[in-house]
Amino acid sequence: MKSDDIVVCRCEEITLDEIRLWIDRGYGRFDELKRILRVGMGPCQGRGCRDIILRELSRSTGEPVESISPGTIRPPVKPVKLGLLIHGEGETSC
């Protein structure tokens, strides 16, 4: 990383320059950036970066930020260890 790099997504270490580069390449929606860069897919699930990226998309498209889709938000809201899921399976309810 260069010293001037601005980290937007801390979980996946994605910089503002990278976001802008991929928007310029035509990845003009949050979900598209998510799939190519993994922004919003790390431990914080986009709590840190989504807002900043939506504003960046708004700036590049000229559309107001309220009309930019924040993408599909699915469970879980935070990482779940696979071990927890495996151990949970098959146990009786109480």
Partner: protein, 360 residues
């Protein structure tokens, strides 16, 4: 896998969630409060200052005492309210009628609620600048938690970014804790918070620099200073940047609703700038477009603890009534009146406009 059934699940044990639980339990419902932190009371717990506003909403009382009062009220209902700490609602699966929950990172289980009140609060906004990922860059809320909850000062000399109430209050509390505050920066042309908070820190000699923002954090491996710059009326930097010596940069640039569960549950959402983000459409009783889900507090739009508590009470009554419990309609009307009163006047205009845009 453990499976808990309940009438009402309240996601979040802050002022809105506790208030919702009190009303729902008061009407006779079984309630589970899932709180991701280690204590209930949410942000109230670290508010060492006295609140303003209406006496009905604890004006003159310190936030931490309000949390205790709400907790006492919850405990009156005994087993009817089950508080689960360190518990995060991680997913909503409507077709199965379940939500998934995690205790720390150690247990994963199911809750089967008849109704859900989402009172997940807010998260801190960040702004991008070079080196914003360097140790020493904090959210103001995090600094407040460190100091007021854990008794740890963040550093020696702080640059505060943002002169809203949080920036002003945390600056004052930093001074009280013996930490120097180099300056408070505010991008807008005027102070966003209450004048009384601004006056307190001005009396202590802390400069509040309007139309100023941070340009970059300076340092090798940790923050050693910050470059700040003046802004023109369109928020573009003007003039030469100045360097401020500090070891902590504290960001108080606003909050945004914590809304993942609402999205997951398919609630109709709308971006409302006056409410600081995407919030669900709701009726007068805080019921969202998903008929099993209510919302209250900052998750429904960034406002204050006082309004969060009333919204919580309204949501709690609404959720209980929908389950067939008999509720006190006069009491509900009183809460609606109190909510209107809190939002009255010039100060409440933006909130009134924002709320009107999402109230069906």
């Amino acid at each position: 896998m453990r499976r808990i059934e309940t009438d009402v699940l309240v996601a979040g044990g802050g002022p809105a969630g506790l208030s919702a639980a009190i009303e729902a339990a008061g009407a006779g419902a079984q309630v589970v409060i899932a709180e991701s932190g280690f204590h209930v009371g949410g942000q109230l717990v670290k508010q060492s200052h006295k609140f303003f506003g209406s006496k009905d909403e604890y004006a003159g009382t310190r936030g931490v005492k309000i949390a205790e009062a709400l907790n006492d009220e919850v405990s009156q209902y005994g087993d009817r309210v089950k508080i689960m700490l360190d518990t995060t609602i991680s997913g909503y699966y409507g077709e199965e009628g379940i939500v998934t929950a995690m205790v720390g990172e150690e247990e994963y289980f199911h809750i089967v609620p008849k109704r859900i009140i989402i009172a997940t609060g807010a998260q801190e906004r960040l702004i991008p600048f070079p080196n914003n990922d360097m140790p020493g860059v904090y959210g103001a809320g995090a600094v407040q938690t460190l100091m007021n909850t854990y008794g740890v000062i963040p550093g020696r000399r702080v640059l505060m970014v943002g002169a809203g109430n949080i920036g002003l209050i945390v600056s004052y509390q930093l001074m009280q804790a013996g930490v120097e505050v180099a300056a408070v920066l505010e991008a807008a042309q005027r102070i966003g918070g209450y004048w009384v908070h601004a006056a307190k820190i001005r009396r202590l000699g802390i400069p509040i620099l309007l139309r100023h923002s941070i340009k970059r954090a300076v340092g090798e491996r940790v923050v050693e200073g910050a470059e700040i710059c003046e802004l023109d009326g369109s928020f573009n930097p003007i003039g030469e940047p100045k360097e401020v010596e500090c070891d902590i940069i504290c960001m108080a640039v606003g909050l945004t609703p914590t809304n993942e569960l609402l999205w997951q549950a398919g609630c109709k959402m709308k971006y409302v700038p006056f409410l600081c983000g995407h919030v669900p459409l709701r009726d007068m009783e805080m019921r969202t477009s998903n008929e099993n889900i209510w919302v209250a507090g900052d998750a429904s739009g960034i406002e204050e603890a006082s309004t969060a508590m009333i919204e919580g009470r309204i949501a709690g009554i609404g959720a209980a009534r929908s389950l067939g419990f008999v509720v006190d309609e006069i009491r509900l009307d009183e809460f609606q009146t109190r909510l209107r009163n809190l939002r009255a006047g010039d100060a409440g205009e933006k909130i009134r406009t924002g709320v009107a845009a999402v109230t069906i």
